[in-house]
């Protein structure tokens, strides 16, 4: 195995409380009274995503696409950029939607999203990433797991950069932190730094 070296948090995006933060700076915010579906819709417009497929996605994928598009904008990354995602509630919201529909007619376009890793597929498609994917379910944001696993991928050459983070959604409450990890940057990719970026918007 290769000797481990230091990697950097090249960029990070936090989505919480109707706000988008890049590193620790608020770059976009909405009225706190805005409904979640409206927030997803308005964010798409504001960020000028111009990606009609977005409207077909479930909310978890929409959050992932919003986060990834800000995270990867103007960044250099190769097609072997790995995706290492985690959350607590898996695909909870869309699971409930599918469950409710079982009384009547089931929608394939809903059912297909009842797996948390579909968002990895959506991001891979949009950014043409043919890379390592994993979706972990954790009790709470767990920087140890993300750093250990991502470093393992980088050190063993399975990826040259990694998008890792937390993409949580339950009952329309969301909590997102995505980081681009590579050889470039100033903030070392450590558990402490990851934790700090996460805590920053949690008071």
């Amino acid at each position: 195995m290769d000797r481990s070296k230091t990697y950097f948090i090249t960029n990070s995006i936090r989505i919480k409380n109707e706000k988008f933060l890049q590193k620790k700076e608020t770059i976009l915010s909405f009225d706190p009274e805005i409904s979640f579906p409206q927030f997803l819709k308005d964010s798409y417009k504001k960020l000028e995503l111009n990606y009609p497929k977005y409207h077909k996605m479930d909310s978890l994928c929409k959050l992932g696409i919003l986060g990834a598009s800000l995270l990867l904008k103007n960044q250099n990354f190769t097609e072997d950029t790995a995706l290492v995602f985690s959350n607590r509630s898996s695909s909870h919201d869309i699971d409930l939607k599918h469950q409710r529909s079982m009384e009547n007619i089931v929608s394939p376009a809903v059912f297909v999203y009842t797996l948390p890793n579909i968002v990895l597929g959506e991001i891979s498609i949009k950014y043409k990433l043919q890379s390592e994917n994993v979706f972990f379910i954790e009790d709470k944001f767990n920087p140890d797991l993300l750093v250990d696993y991502s470093e393992g991928l980088l050190n063993s050459g399975k990826a040259t950069s990694v998008v890792c983070g937390w993409l949580e959604l339950k009952n329309d409450e969301y909590d997102v932190l995505l980081c681009l990890v590579s050889n470039n940057g100033k903030i070392p990719f450590t558990k402490v730094n990851l934790e700090e970026l996460y805590r920053f918007e949690n008071e």
């Binding site: 009609p52 409207h55 077909k56 929608s107 394939p108 376009a109 297909v112």
Partner: protein
């Protein structure tokens, strides 16, 4: 007759979440898949659901869809002769 076509366009836009498309932009002969509206395999399955829900038509063989979901005109023709509601 043209009402059914307009109704179909409206429900396709809603059902398949084609938010950035309006009824006026869909021509009755536009192909639904490929270069036309660019629908995919999940959309095809959703159209099967739409036929069942709105018109009481149950397709059991997914291959049947290929001959029906060609254009709005083709779909409307099929619905007119097979609808149970």
């Amino acid at each position: 007759m043209s009402d059914l076509r307009t109704e179909l366009k409206q429900s396709i836009i809603e059902q398949l979440n084609l938010e950035e498309l309006s009824i006026e932009e869909i021509d009755n002969d536009d192909s639904l898949f490929g270069d036309g509206l660019g629908l995919d395999s999940i959309d095809a399955l959703e159209l099967i659901v739409l036929l069942e829900k709105d018109y009481g038509i149950k397709l059991t063989d997914p291959n049947q869809g290929k001959e029906i979901f060609i254009s709005i005109n083709k779909m409307a023709e099929y619905i007119e002769s097979h609808r149970t509601k």
